[in-house]
Symmetry: C3
Subunit: 347 residues, 3 copies
Amino acid sequence: MKFSEFIQQLAVSVPNPQVHLANDPELTGLSAIEDSQAHTLSYIEGEKYAHHVLTTPACALILPRHDGLQAQASDRHLAWIAVDEPRIALAHAIRCFYQPVSPEPGIHPSAQIHPTAHIGTDVAIAANVVIGAHVTLGEGVAIHPNVVVYAGAQVGDRTVLHANCVIHERSEIGPDCVIHSGAVIGSEGFGFVPVAEGWVKMPQSGHVVLASGVEVGCNATIDRPALGTTQVGRNTKIDNLVQVAHGCKIGDNCAIAAQTGMAGGVKIGNRVILAGQVGIVDHVEVGDGAIGAAQAGIHSNVKPGEIVTGSPALPHKVFLKASAVFRRLPEMHRTLKQLSRDAGLKE
Amino acid sequence: MKFSEFIQQLAVSVPNPQVHLANDPELTGLSAIEDSQAHTLSYIEGEKYAHHVLTTPACALILPRHDGLQAQASDRHLAWIAVDEPRIALAHAIRCFYQPVSPEPGIHPSAQIHPTAHIGTDVAIAANVVIGAHVTLGEGVAIHPNVVVYAGAQVGDRTVLHANCVIHERSEIGPDCVIHSGAVIGSEGFGFVPVAEGWVKMPQSGHVVLASGVEVGCNATIDRPALGTTQVGRNTKIDNLVQVAHGCKIGDNCAIAAQTGMAGGVKIGNRVILAGQVGIVDHVEVGDGAIGAAQAGIHSNVKPGEIVTGSPALPHKVFLKASAVFRRLPEMHRTLKQLSRDAGLKE
Amino acid sequence: MKFSEFIQQLAVSVPNPQVHLANDPELTGLSAIEDSQAHTLSYIEGEKYAHHVLTTPACALILPRHDGLQAQASDRHLAWIAVDEPRIALAHAIRCFYQPVSPEPGIHPSAQIHPTAHIGTDVAIAANVVIGAHVTLGEGVAIHPNVVVYAGAQVGDRTVLHANCVIHERSEIGPDCVIHSGAVIGSEGFGFVPVAEGWVKMPQSGHVVLASGVEVGCNATIDRPALGTTQVGRNTKIDNLVQVAHGCKIGDNCAIAAQTGMAGGVKIGNRVILAGQVGIVDHVEVGDGAIGAAQAGIHSNVKPGEIVTGSPALPHKVFLKASAVFRRLPEMHRTLKQLSRDAGLKE
């Protein structure tokens, strides 16, 4: 693809680009700036990578609005496009060159589809997929090999299920979702009531509801509750190995990073960000726009917009200040002993 | 089902209920109290939910022994049953209305069963299940689609294996166990001996033994050791994404919450509770009835009945008190500097 | 096998053993010392297990170079071999008796192999395996049941893929690797750019490259990046449930224990050891030979050879000393208040 053609395609998605065509090079693809290759388009964002403009073998660049970088690129006869949000331009640029792997259209003969299942038009169902009784698959659903969909589940239009994921009974998965490989949606919540002899199992008769545009990472698990629903809101993105326990209610547009876990009945607002390995105690509520930093242990409600860190979690700045002093505890302890002795306090 | 019929069914399992039939309503099912629906039975437990008695559209309630709530329910002409342990009554109530999804009886034609496998009576083996050489499946075993059982494994009577779980070679799974979707039982322990050039692999020739009534959560992993066994005791319940390393010995009736990890050779007593994201260092012993709070990092032995918190873990009360002071470290540090200066101590 | 035959086999791999044949007993296998059985070879390493020499029913022992233990074993008429590194001798000894389960040679008729795939000689491909378009499998590759290999992936000679693992598009897996059950290699990185209305998905067009001799544990996940590669170096061993995010570069001969997670773009040197449940923030660099202790939260670069502990991570000794004082915070706080009052400081 010529650089000029690429710019035409990109212009649909990216507002007001500045463009320098140079000799309108032929692009063979994209490459990361640290590892860029000849005849490719690459991408500069932030100070850390700016120096690559001077040496990159790439023939074209996505740049931020930065006169100096643009001049450097022009001096090297590189083609470039400069935009307000280079990362968004990059996302669209990758789409111009990259076609994700999809299962072949139609239903593979080895797929096992229950006769009572209702299958939409234009689906792609790969080898060894197993679809249970009374399942509903929407239009354009794509299912990679070895996926299992238990009885009564619903999968919305254009949703993609990656290999070896499992959708349990009566789960409702909205349109335009992506369930990644090995994820398990709608399995039994961890419900056991202690009695003298051990445990009475609480049957988990509820189900999981994912709204539109949800992504669930590889080997993540979302359990169904004893009664009612576990919910994930519109466009919320869940990373690999995350645990969402029975009865959690997660809002819209959240991002939940890898290995985070929520215990039962947690409520998460909209636009909440949870970094990796966060843990949230059962029935805690996290307000809209709040942020849990990596490894935070959230034991009590978090207000909207609040940032919390540490285990047990504190307001971010409080934690950082206390944490900075933590390493000085031994010298503080010695000084305090000295002062106590001098003051005649008994220890 | 009429409320009176439901009460008759429940009476078998729940001692000495108080019952108010009201107009003996027809029940269509159960619903969670926060989301309760007309014509359903719902459930009140604890102060937090008590106010719902005044407004719930449900027609019948499971109540605690509490005169005030009972009077309020009677005033609203709701049918109710009051018991000592409402959660246990709820568990039995759900069983009256809810039938879990099981694979169809018999062996699906697409299942691959090794001719040397020994299959018990009344099994249900779903599509694409693969059963290896010399495997033994007990009576009434139910195996959901795409499960793999490696050679020489044994699965006890009535045990359920959910979709895409893997049972490795020579594992012994007791009767009445549930292995949830994607769990891996009996895989190779992480055994590598450091040498100058890298690592020598320690072959893991042992196996995993799960006693009766064990549950293992989705995508949890239980490894086999180099020699001998990794063991999980009777009725112990293991949640999603838990890691049990090679050679661990876990007692009876434990509950181990999601994302907890045990390193090699850990010993856990009976009735131990480990909350979410707990980590236990190799060869540590945790006594009967001990509790590890969420995110605890357990580096040394825990006495029977002890509760530990924090990383490294401390006795629970010690941790809570120290943790409450932690946020004051910056002011403590300032005060201490001031006092030191005043006392003429050099810093 | 006679003990003397065993010694002959072992001698190939273990330098300069001292041997005491006793009555050259017949060995039926190996057993762990704590649970050792008659007619087996067992293994003593370290003080903790030394007392077993006096009572073990095993008929032969692997011992350290320790005159006292050797004399005790001889007195009991046990056969023994003493070596510099008993654990390495044990690893070789297990190999003499133990044969791992492998899929049957050839391609199972239920496997679905795309006609454009290139399959090496001497492969063993089990039931229900699905191999996508343009996949390359090397010589002697062994694939257990229900594995899915997406289009364009490459799997090196003698590599083993365990049941239900997933290899995503364009992944390059070196020779002599082991991918354990349920692991997912090469899935989409968690890339979403925040915009006013939610998230723009960053397509993940890169791929994952594993060098030779890499092991990846059960249900671990290694994501591919938007551009370029996620890399794992030669002989690096990754345990169960580990998360390696998009664009990480991990060196050679590392050991990464269970449930550890790395955010995007992390760089790990050679011979790095990360204990269980470690978390590493995005783009952090960890130098050669560094060690992250269990549950460490690594927020900034770690120097070669450094040991870090805690969250946020500190140098190991600094953390241990500060951590030892942590539990005294309440008494320190009280003393400080007393001293402040006495000194007339306002609080």
